[in-house]
């Protein structure tokens, strides 16, 4: 399998649900999907393409919050980044921890630092912040101010 085969597999599996696919270099693939498509994308990458979840990152924006899932296909030297956008006022998305248990910690981290709620997460409690951290204060958001 080559990187272009991977791109074709992704395109054929996700069809019209996929947008903004671009390859800045032969080692990188970026594309965007709707939030409700994230579990299917995770299944495709983790189960079918045997990719390794490197990590995920939430990026705060003025109206929306981006979530980037970085998947490595080590045999091809390829990193596939899946981008999705959730509403900033009520950021909510399905957890992929059941598909890929390695996502469990990073989802907990995005939940507490950015306030993104991961539905179906088996153990959504504080990972890095203290247990009595005030509810509704998310330190990685741009409008966070220290009291």
């Amino acid at each position: 399998m080559t990187p272009s085969d991977v791109v074709m597999r992704i395109q054929s599996a996700l069809g019209e649900r996929l947008s903004d696919l671009h390859q800045p270099s032969e080692k990188r693939v970026y594309f965007e999907v709707d939030p409700n498509c994230i579990p299917d994308t995770a299944r495709l990458l983790h189960d079918t393409l045997q990719a390794r979840l490197q990590t995920a990152a939430g990026v705060d924006g003025p109206h929306q919050m981006e979530i980037l899932y970085h998947w490595a296909l080590d045999r091809l030297g390829l990193v596939v980044t899946v981008r999705t956008r959730v509403d900033r006022d009520q950021p909510q998305i399905a957890s992929i921890a059941a598909i890929c248990p390695a996502a469990e910690w990073i989802e907990r981290e995005m939940w507490e630092l950015l306030g993104i709620s991961f539905e179906g997460h088996p153990d959504l409690r504080h990972l890095l912040l203290q247990d009595d951290w005030p509810h509704g204060k998310y330190p990685l958001r741009r409008d966070f101010r220290k009291d």
């Binding site: 800045p24 030297g77 912040l129």
Partner: protein, 408 residues
């Protein structure tokens, strides 16, 4: 009558870990039946801090994410910046990056090997490993100015060249390191006592590695053939010859053998980098003036596994978003399965086997009664249990050994 479950808190400050982490061991008698891991005792908000620093300052910041692999984060970070901003890097700088990275790998693996020996009650290994680690640190100081936190990296190159006098000094150090490395390999591979303490203990299957997306020596000891240096070539790793060290059983013994094997490969890589530095002069920095808008990923195979950095640039002099993921973040959760069903005496070395980035802080571990919180066994006693097992095995094998009266 139902079996009574006892909780053994290991941490948050414990000699097994440099970073404060809290392992809650649930035990029934001597057998570990559950493990809970709590992080965050040392959360510094580096990602947030990075958004307020310019790209040059960011490198100094990420260098301080970890005290042992202090050049791994900068290498991953500069690569992410270079990819985001489309920056050039001179070839000589790539060799210097790999050279420093591999020196760091040797001293990090020697540190782990020494501590593993210490926890097993094999203090000769500890003393010898740290004796030779010191010589590697001395060379790091000579070449970079510091034993750690080298300050060598910058976007677009490196800060400091490696002149001919230092090349010969590094070569001399590698020559003196060769026979101790042989000694370590042979001592561990052939010593029946180390085999008895580590073979079949804390085993992780390739399926478990995949489940937790574990990386580095932890994955390679279980036969999972991944190494960022080969799979995603960066720095000089695609320009020199070396092999990925792989074992198959996934127990502590194999984790030791992977790390020892990697030190030999590091020596190989360093020697080739030194030859190229001698024959290929050139600039060490492309002096970039700006980082264009864009996003980039940088990853590097740190001694403990893949370090991952993601940088987003809006064309200003500082990152809009900087995501950092250290290898222990993926490796530490494997303990949840590796330690189940093992004994308390073995738990110490199993928790340490993923090399969760430790450098001996304080000691605080105790066995508590969950109802009264009364201390039943102290941290000292916990460590001594591990050593008593070694002493018992030693006597079973008919070997001479140190008197157990020594202190921990």
């Amino acid at each position: 009558m139902a079996k009574k479950t006892t909780i053994i808190p290991v941490g948050p400050y414990h000699p097994l870990q440099e970073e404060p982490e809290f392992f809650k061991l649930y035990v029934e008698g001597e057998k570990v039946v559950g493990l809970d891991i709590e992080l965050g005792y040392n959360h510094r908000g580096v990602e947030k801090l990075s958004e307020g620093k310019d790209y040059e300052e960011t490198i100094f910041l990420v260098e301080r994410v970890c005290g042992i692999c202090s050049t791994s984060h900068p290498i991953a970070c500069v690569q992410a910046i270079e990819e985001a901003g489309d920056l050039e890097v001179p070839q000589r700088a790539l060799y210097i990056r790999s050279l420093i990275g591999e020196l760091e790998r040797i001293h990090s693996h020697l540190l782990w090997l020494g501590l593993a020996g210490h926890f097993l009650g094999f203090n000769t290994v500890w003393m010898w490993a740290w004796r030779y680690r010191e010589e590697v640190l001395n060379i790091c100081e000579q070449v970079t100015g510091n034993r750690n936190h080298y300050g060598m990296l910058k976007p677009g190159g490196v800060r400091r060249d490696v002149p001919a006098t230092e090349i010969s000094a590094i070569r001399k150090m590698l020559d003196t390191l060769s026979s101790p490395l042989d000694l370590f390999r042979d001592t561990v591979a052939e010593d029946p006592l180390i085999q008895a303490r580590t073979r079949g203990i804390g085993t992780l299957t390739p399926q478990q590695i995949r489940k937790f997306a574990a990386v580095g020596p932890t994955a390679r000891a279980s036969g999972v053939d991944i190494d960022v240096r080969r799979d995603h070539p960066h720095a000089a790793y695609g320009m020199v010859e070396w092999d990925v060290v792989l074992e198959s059983r996934g127990d502590i013994f194999d984790k030791i053998m992977v790390r020892i094997g990697e030190m030999f490969q590091s020596v190989r890589i360093i020697r080739q980098c030194l030859s190229r530095l001698e024959t290929e002069p050139g600039p060490i920095d492309s002096h970039p003036k700006e980082v264009k808008p864009g996003e980039g990923i940088g990853h590097y195979e740190a001694p403990r596994g893949e370090v991952f950095h993601y940088i987003r640039s809006d064309g200003s002099n500082r990152p809009v978003r900087h995501k950092i993921r250290a290898p222990s973040y993926m490796n530490v959760p494997t303990n949840r399965e590796a330690v189940i069903g093992e004994t308390i005496a073995d738990a110490t070395i199993i928790l340490a086997a993923v090399d969760p980035c430790y450098c001996c802080t304080e000691r605080m571990a105790a066995v508590l009664d969950p109802e009264t919180d009364r201390v039943l066994i102290s941290g000292k006693e916990l460590l001594q249990r591990s050593r008593r097992k070694t002493a018992w095995l030693r006597s079973q094998l008919g070997h001479e050994g140190p008197d157990l009266k020594w202190d921990c």
